[in-house]
């Protein structure tokens, strides 16, 4: 027997078959997790988002009309939940005015190479983190999820025009950030 399509699973769930929802979770949990993880850079935050997304899906699926497809829909919820999580964090940071961006002194005796790798990694994370929301979303969906621009436009409820420019500007900004940071490196 071939696996049920998303549409079939949703219909069965709407008819009261709880197990169909379980199958949807199993099918999409890794995608949702990694999408969220790329926005928030952190397992615990990503886990919160996974929980929120599927709870939301559980409630909303009862009235779900398959207009955009489950895949697009769950991606959209995940992007929105991720952006909300990032907003929350940014508000917190905004009020934490005395906290400046500093290079952490790891103080350990790990080999220089390893420390440098960690620093570089933190820098790249930071560079992606500082992108404007739309550029960040396009960058993640295009680079990590390798989605076609049409699909990205559906998920973000925007037009295709401009997405390539968003992608390019994101890459450019990341490059500029890395260059600046490496230049001021102690």
């Amino acid at each position: 027997m071939s696996p049920s399509s998303d549409v079939e699973l949703i219909q069965r769930f709407q008819q009261g078959e709880e197990a169909a929802f379980n199958e949807l979770v199993r099918r999409y949990q890794e995608k949702v997790y990694w999408l969220a993880r790329r926005f928030v850079n952190d397992h615990d935050n990503a886990d919160d988002i996974v929980q929120d997304v599927f709870i939301k899906a559980y409630d909303a699926l009862k009235n779900f009309r398959n207009e955009s497809g489950f895949y697009t829909w769950i991606y959209r919820i995940t992007v929105n939940a991720s952006l909300n999580a990032v907003r929350r964090e940014r508000v917190r940071n905004f009020f934490r005015i005395d906290e400046q961006f500093e290079y952490e002194d790891t103080g350990t005796e790990s080999p220089t190479e390893k420390v440098e790798l960690q620093e570089q990694r933190a820098l790249i994370e930071k560079a992606i983190e500082t992108l404007p929301e739309k550029q960040k979303a396009v960058f993640i969906l295009r680079y990590y999820d390798e989605l076609p621009y049409e699909e990205i436009a559906n998920i973000l409820k925007t037009s295709v025009g401009g997405l390539k420019a968003n992608y390019f500007h994101a890459v450019q900004k990341i490059g500029e950030y890395l260059k600046r940071a490496n230049a001021t490196r102690p």
Partner: protein, 205 residues
């Protein structure tokens, strides 16, 4: 082929995700255009850096545990469904404003060391709720908080007024800031203008 056109195609070109014809076209342009060639080099370098960024895997067994936890929470949420009353959600912001005012009023008579502080989370909740469902309002959240203040003094005033006190604000810290500071919405033009200035770096928050 326009130069700007090629620029926007470079990330996909570098990652070999263009169709053959377009890839070939870009390739030819690069042969003839040193400016785009340099840009392609920079773009390639960025992707090489990013490729080195490996995300750590989630803890072993994490994915087999997602479902039971969702089930548990769904059942819990069902018991608190009244919190999702549309009226409550709609009036969340005004209610929060009242909450802030009431909290402030209460603080006057409360011991400053009591638990009755407004936390970052309270403020964050209000602000996030305000921008919920608004696409790409990320930067707005910060601007939001600063919106009630004259632009050139944003940094100064925020520093002066919202002195962080551990993870909480005391009454004194918030005195003089109106609840507008926390709750007032920005017009779209104001957001655009401030975003512009943020992007140019002429305003840093």
């Amino acid at each position: 082929m326009q130069t700007q056109h090629v620029h926007n195609l470079l990330p996909d070109f570098v990652n070999k995700t263009l169709d053959n014809a377009l890839h070939h076209e870009v390739s030819e342009h690069l042969d003839a255009c040193p400016e785009c060639r340099a840009e392609a080099e920079r773009v390639g370098e960025v992707f090489r850096s990013i490729q080195s960024l490996q995300f750590e895997q989630p803890p072993v067994g994490y994915f087999s545990n997602v479902l039971p936890r969702i089930r548990e929470r769904a059942e819990h949420d069902e018991r608190f469904a009244w919190l999702k009353n549309p009226l409550l959600v709609k009036f969340a912001a005004p209610l929060a404003a009242v909450f802030v005012l009431v909290s402030l009023a209460n603080l006057v008579s409360f011991d400053q060391s009591s638990e009755e502080y407004i936390t970052y989370d309270d403020v964050a909740d209000v602000l996030v709720r305000q921008t919920e469902g608004q696409p790409f309002a990320n930067d707005q959240v910060e601007l939001f908080a600063a919106s009630a203040l004259p632009e050139e003094t944003v940094e100064h005033q925020i520093t002066g007024l919202l002195v962080a006190n551990g993870d909480t604000f005391s009454f004194d810290d918030l005195a003089g800031t109106s609840t507008d500071l926390l709750l007032e919405n920005l017009s779209e033009q104001e957001v655009e203008a401030l975003l512009q200035r943020l992007e140019e770096g002429s305003l840093s928050l």
